[in-house]
Structures are given as structure tokens and as C-alpha cells.
């Protein structure tokens, strides 16, 4: 008897899969998207699929790529559903993904009532952090270890390419790596706050996407937004969880 739903979120950087039993996430996986999103989606599908799975929903920019998908839903709707599940009564969602960021306004039932996407530019997305880590020769996993060493550093460039030269010139001025990294993180959070300020959010905000794993991002985003920001250990899986939740309603 089918009782599980499978949600797969194919983002620009990672593919996430989630199995959902109607109440809980019972299994999940995450792989790098690489240059072959269709193949990676299939890997995730093979790893999680079983006769118990009664419905498959795909989301993310690769949502059309899996032939076994029963339904394709945009990541906006899925992130909203996932955030409502993980964060409870949040007023909105901020998702910082690999190549875009989104701000979603939720109604009381966790449905989308408005949204904005910054999908024209890599500034303020995961790509920006990857660029920074490459230049500062650190791993994203080090992000939470950075601590202020000197005066606050401002990164002002709005463009990933220009920000790269800005970081390089700061290094040339012998500014501490930690301070540069914190400056970059603050600049991303400020940019995200400005971009989302067009939505009349109330209450707390759920933070999803790959960067939600890092406390330094959550706390800086909270400061920039001026309202409580909550996240969840499953924050990066938010879109896939939303897809699986929606899929569960369709199991016959």
C-alpha cells in the first residue's frame, strides 16, 4: 500500500530528495547538481523510490527533467509549504539559493500571497559565497568560525565580479580574512533585506536554502531585516519537503 510521497528539488547547486509519510520526513538525501541535473535527479529518485511511494513531485529549475515525476510545481509554492511545515506560523520565507534568492509572503494557512525573485544577478546568492571562499581560500563550512579581528569592513559592490576585485584589494591592504568574510556576509544579508522590503512581511521569517545552515547568516539576516529569523536543520531541504507535502495529498 503506497503511503509515502517523494519530493525532489533540483536547484542550481544541489539536488534534494525527501520522503514524507504525511507527518514526518522519513528519509532524505542531497547530491551536487553538477553539469548533469537530469542524471542527478534520477540518482536521487533511485535512492529514495520504493513500492511504498505513491506520488512524486519535482520542483526547482530542473523540475521538468525527471520522466517519473507525477507533478511539477514551482519552487516558490514548495518553499512556502515547506517553511510552513518546518517553521510553523511564520509570516514569510527568505530563500537564498545557489543562483537566485526569493522572498515569499505567506497567509495564515501557509499559502503564497505574494513573492519576489532576484533572478537576474548572482549578487546575494550562494554563488557569491562560493566566489568569496575561493578567494579567501576557505571552505563554506568555516563560515561560522569567523570572528571579528579588526574594524568592520564594508563590501559595497553590487556585482559579484566587482565584489571579487573589492575583496582582492582588501586582502592587499592586509585586512584580516575573518573581517572580509563577515563584511561579505553582512552585505548579502543587507541586500536580501532591501530586496524583500517591498513585501509587507509581518512576524517572523523562515530562512531556507543552502546558506540557512550557517548561524552567522541567520543572525545577520535577523539584524538586517529587523525581525526574528528562524530556520531548521532541514532548512536546505525546504523546497523538497514542500514538494513531498503537496504530493502526499495526491496519493490514492
Amino acid at each position: 500500500m503506497a503511503k509515502l510521497s517523494l519530493g525532489i528539488d533540483c536547484g542550481s547547486t544541489t539536488v534534494k530528495g525527501v520522503l514524507f509519510d504525511g507527518e514526518r520526513v522519513v528519509d532524505s538525501c542531497l547530491v551536487a547538481t553538477s553539469a548533469r541535473p537530469a542524471l542527478r535527479m534520477h540518482e536521487v529518485y533511485e535512492r529514495l523510490h520504493s513500492p511504498e511511494v505513491g506520488y512524486v513531485v519535482t520542483t526547482g529549475y530542473g523540475r521538468e527533467l525527471l520522466p517519473e515525476s507525477n507533478k511539477k510545481i514551482t519552487e516558490i509554492t514548495c518553499h512556502a509549504k515547506g517553511a510552513h511545515f518546518l517553521g510553523g506560523s511564520v509570516g514569510g520565507v527568505i530563500d537564498i539559493g545557489g543562483q537566485d534568492s526569493k522572498a515569499i509572503l505567506l497567509d495564515r494557512d501557509g499559502n503564497v500571497s505574494d513573492f519576489l525573485m532576484n533572478d537576474k544577478c548572482a549578487a546575494g546568492t550562494g554563488r557569491f559565497i562560493e566566489m568569496m571562499c575561493r578567494i579567501l581560500e576557505c571552505s563554506p563550512e568555516d563560515l561560522d568560525k569567523f570572528a571579528p579581528k579588526g574594524p568592520t569592513v564594508e563590501i559595497t559592490s553590487m556585482c559579484t565580479v566587482f565584489a571579487e576585485s573589492e575583496i582582492i584589494s582588501l586582502l592587499a591592504q592586509d585586512v584580516a580574512r575573518d573581517d572580509i568574510a563577515l563584511g561579505v556576509i553582512r552585505s548579502i544579508c543587507r541586500r536580501t533585506a532591501t530586496f524583500s522590503s517591498r513585501l509587507p512581511m509581518e512576524g517572523s521569517v523562515f530562512f531556507s536554502g543552502g546558506l540557512a545552515r550557517f548561524e552567522v547568516f541567520r543572525s545577520n539576516l535577523e539584524k538586517a531585516l529587523g525581525r526574528p529569523v528562524v530556520t531548521h536543520p532541514y532548512g536546505q531541504l525546504c523546497g523538497a519537503i514542500g514538494a513531498a507535502i503537496i504530493g502526499h495529498r495526491f496519493i490514492k
Binding site: 529549475y61 510545481i73 514551482t74 516558490i76 537566485d100 503564497v112 505574494d114 513573492f115 525573485m117 537576474k120
Partner: protein, 382 residues
């Protein structure tokens, strides 16, 4: 694509029109018919028609000639202006090529300045369009229309009488009525047709030289659509109104995204649609120039300040077409529509409680994926 396959023959004829256009324009010119090229719906087509000439819409709908235009114009300018200039420079558009006179109008800043450059290598006359729909504005516009008539008379060595203009007004009013009946079919629930088919007719008619024949064919198409009405075809779809800048070739990308994601375009509040067609010229006004000035200046484009007519028109269209959601599409660097979107959003969401989405695009397909996701998410939200 499936929607296009289902088109009745007469729709096909409108789209083919543009492929055959070079030869058609050529043949027209052999008969000695003057071509007046215009860019904007604010130019009264009645005046060139009155002298036996024809007003043609100048190609500015594809990005093909933008690189050529960017040799002279700034890159961060609206793609419509760049494309217009590029087509003029490259002779790639039959209407530009065959235009004996090009008529500009002082609508937005980018176009005004572009016409000055165009005037260096084309025969250009610019009509001063006031940006306020006041009595002063109407009086100025009326005198500009008389000046336009005189320019035509001088350049084409002819006389244009008021009776000829009165006849032209009638001919174009009939076409407007026919177009309104045609696109008005989308008021039906479910609507009979997809948005691309409606757009194709509205767009195609701008490239017809035989105005009365085109009107007759629009009426036949309307009847055909009624006869072939299949309520199952667009049943259960979310009814979308598209508003914003004239977006040329990008209309396909937007409408396809709407209709591939469970929506259907029921109404266009833009330059090819209700904005320019909705109002008739007053045939009872004894002063034909006053009648034209009043009707044309009333077009609710964002270059007018203030522009209350757009809200008024939108208010009525939202009811008539039972709209579920409004999608505003604005061209990159189209400042007036971009700024005015604030008021439109406020009106649609706060006063009418209807969901609204804004998006900016250009003539390229580079953002097709993002457009699809945004529109998909918007329709899922409805």
C-alpha cells in the same frame, strides 16, 4: 506548438502577412500609395488615410537590429527604442524602408532623443504630444494635428479635406468596433481562444494596408470563433490580464508561460490591445481635429502625467473579463511604466483585491526560464 496548430485559416493569414510584407509593401508602393511610418498609437492613422496614404507600424518588435543600434545609442536604453532605431539604420524592415515620411511623437524621453538622431538620415517629422490630458493639452495637440496635415499636404503635394478625414474616422471606428467585438469574445467563461491567437490578430491588423478589407476579415474571424466555441478547451484556467509596456516579440515568451502553467490570457491592457482600441473617435464632433485630438490624447499610456485613464480602464476590464490575476510586463529601462507599476499594483491588490505580479524583461530569450518560474508560481498562487 499546439495552440497555433488549431488556428483557423484566417488567423494564419494575419501572421503570414508579416512574412509576405516586403512584397506587399512593394506592390502597394507601385500603385503610388504613400507610406507614413509611425511608432506609436498616439498618431491618428486617420490623417494619412484621408490623403490616400497609409500609416504603417514601424518594426521595433524584435531584437535583431539592437547590436547595430548600440553603436550609436546607450546600451541601457529600452529595447523597443534601440530596435526601432536599428531597423531604420539597417533597412531590414519593409515599412521603414518604404516609408516616405517617418512621424515621431514626444512620448517618452528615450524616443524623443532617438528621433533627433533618426532625423539625420531619414525624413522625420515629430508631433508634439503634450503629457497632460488637460484642455490646454488638447488645444496644443489639435494644432499639432493640423500641422501634421499641412506637412503631409506640402510633402505629398496634395490637399486633405475635412470630409476626407471624417470618412477616415468612420473607417477606423468600424475597425475599432470589429476589434473590440473580436477580443471581447474572451469575456466568455471559459474564453474561446488562447492569448497568442488574440495577440496575433491584434498585432497583424497593424500591418494591413487594406483597412476595410481587414475589418471585414476581423468580423469573419469573430463569427468563426463563435461558431467553433468549445467550452471544454480553456475550462478551469486562471483568467489573466496582461498589462504594461508594449513588449513586442517578448509577448510570445510571456503568453506561453501563462498558458503552459494553467492560465489563459483573457485581456490585453497594452498598446496593441484595449489601451489603444477601446475608445472611438466622436463622429458627431463638427471639428474633426478636435475630435481626433480628444480621442487620441485620451489613450492611457504611462507617458501621461497623471494617467487616471489607465486605472479607470483597468477597473472596467477587471470586471468585464472576470480577471483572476494581473501580470504587468515592463521593458527594461521603460521608466514611465516601471514607475507607474506602483500605482497599478496598489489599485489592483488593495482596491480590487486581485493578485498582481510585476516583471521586467527585454527582447531576448535569456530569461525565458525565470519568466516561466515566476509566472508558474503566480498562477499556482491564484
Amino acid at each position: 506548438m499546439e495552440l497555433i496548430k488549431d488556428l483557423p485559416a484566417i488567423f494564419e493569414e494575419f501572421s503570414e502577412q508579416r512574412k509576405k510584407s516586403f512584397m506587399a509593401a512593394y506592390e502597394c508602393k507601385q500603385k503610388g500609395i504613400p507610406f507614413i511610418g509611425g511608432f506609436c498609437t498616439y498618431l491618428p492613422k486617420e490623417i494619412p488615410y484621408a490623403m490616400g496614404g497609409i500609416m504603417v507600424g514601424l518594426c521595433s518588435q524584435t531584437g535583431e537590429t539592437i547590436p547595430e543600434a548600440e553603436k550609436d545609442l546607450p546600451r541601457n536604453l529600452c529595447p523597443l527604442i534601440k530596435a526601432s532605431y536599428g531597423f531604420a539604420k539597417t533597412d531590414k524592415c519593409p515599412y521603414f524602408y518604404f516609408s516616405d515620411l517617418i512621424v515621431g511623437e514626444t512620448t517618452c524621453d528615450g524616443k524623443k532623443k532617438m528621433y533627433e538622431m533618426l532625423g539625420e538620415f531619414k525624413n522625420v517629422h515629430v508631433i508634439e504630444l503634450p503629457n497632460r490630458q488637460s484642455e490646454n493639452g488638447i488645444a496644443l495637440f489639435r494644432s499639432e494635428l493640423i500641422r501634421f496635415k499641412e506637412v503631409l499636404e506640402e510633402q505629398f503635394e496634395t490637399t486633405i479635406t475635412e470630409d476626407q478625414i471624417r470618412h477616415a474616422i468612420h473607417v477606423y471606428n468600424e475597425q475599432r468596433k470589429a476589434l473590440k467585438e473580436f477580443y471581447g469574445l474572451q469575456k466568455m467563461d471559459p474564453p474561446p481562444r488562447g492569448g497568442l491567437e488574440i495577440h496575433r490578430v491584434l498585432d497583424g491588423v497593424q500591418f494591413r494596408f487594406d483597412i476595410e478589407e481587414a475589418t471585414k476579415q476581423i468580423r469573419e474571424t469573430t463569427q468563426r470563433v463563435i461558431d467553433e466555441y468549445d467550452p471544454e478547451k480553456y475550462k478551469g484556467r486562471k483568467r489573466i490580464l496582461v498589462t504594461g509596456s508594449p513588449i513586442g516579440v517578448s509577448m510570445r515568451k510571456v503568453v506561453e508561460a501563462i498558458e503552459n502553467n494553467g492560465g489563459v490570457v483573457v485581456c490585453y491592457e497594452n498598446c496593441g490591445g484595449a489601451r489603444s482600441v477601446d475608445e472611438l473617435v466622436d463622429e458627431d464632433n463638427p471639428d474633426v481635429y478636435d475630435a481626433l485630438a480628444r480621442r487620441y490624447i485620451n489613450i492611457p499610456c504611462s507617458c501621461m502625467s497623471p494617467n487616471p485613464g489607465r486605472i479607470k480602464l483597468m477597473d472596467r476590464l477587471l470586471d468585464e473579463y472576470k480577471v483572476d490575476g494581473v501580470i504587468e510586463v515592463v521593458l527594461q529601462a521603460c521608466h514611465t511604466f516601471n514607475v507607474e507599476s506602483y500605482k497599478i499594483k496598489k489599485f489592483v491588490t488593495e482596491e480590487r483585491n486581485i493578485p498582481y505580479m510585476f516583471m521586467e524583461t527585454d527582447y531576448s530569450d535569456a530569461d525565458a526560464g525565470q519568466v516561466n518560474t515566476r509566472i508558474g508560481a503566480f498562477i499556482e498562487m491564484l
